[in-house]
Symmetry: C2
Subunit: 143 residues, 2 copies
């Protein structure tokens, strides 16, 4: 029973960013990065926890948070905070921005090229730009 073969790519991915490929992290990485049908995901901690439970993975919510933050710190994910109690983790780590549908709470990628920022201000002395976030907040029109 070669049970770690299907995970070898993920194992490598985790190791390459300095994270031990533990049972929990592997299971979560699988859900995040190898979800069937497309891979650009915007997922909350709670959602990922539900998916894990549904997939019979025994993992606590605290570990979900730990892992999501570790993955984010390692550059495997990007965190997008849209409103006070609502934080998404984005598996798309390329340079891009977001539409946020305020009514439904849904988030959607905008390819980086479609938002052109010209004339960024100079960052204050002693600082450098870590990231620029653009969120275009949308309302459903009665239409």
């Amino acid at each position: 029973m070669t049970r770690d073969r299907p995970y070898s790519a993920l194992v490598q991915r985790l190791k390459s960013v300095g994270l031990r490929p533990t049972r929990q992290r592997l299971a979560l990485a699988k859900l995040l990065f190898e979800a069937p049908g497309g891979c650009d995901r915007h997922i909350t901690a709670e959602q990922l926890h539900s998916e894990a439970v549904a997939d019979n993975v025994r993992v606590s919510l605290a570990t979900i948070y730990n892992s999501l933050h570790q993955f984010t710190g390692a550059g495997l994910l990007r965190e997008v905070v849209v409103e006070s109690g609502r934080s998404y983790f984005d598996t798309n780590i390329t340079d891009h921005h977001h539409f946020y549908f305020e009514d439904s709470g849904r988030l959607q990628d905008i390819p980086g090229e479609l938002v052109q920022l010209e004339s960024l201000p100079t960052p204050p002395g002693g600082t450098r730009v870590a990231r620029v976030d653009v969120i275009i907040r949308l309302n459903e029109t009665g239409e």
Copy 2:
């Protein structure tokens, strides 16, 4: 003792947006909009509560949240969410964007003109743009 004279401008301001000028709301509006020394404030609910307490205003934290959201809904404030547990209310409601100092948690206005967004993508059908938020995240360089 004409004790409501000093508040008349605030009373008007609240009434004009359809909010009753209650004791709590008046006190909070005073702290927010008539703070001594400059008026562009980025304040959290907790901070405002502390200021109110220091100013001997009896008001609960729940009411702070209620009021901040009501003021925001009425267009007197703007909410800026910078990270998961950190939400600021901005007294500057003109079109502008923000620097966020990740190390200190401080927020700073960038005048609207200094960030030029050219070529915004077309909003998806059935939606209209409510607002565009640009947050430039900064790190302190060792320097």
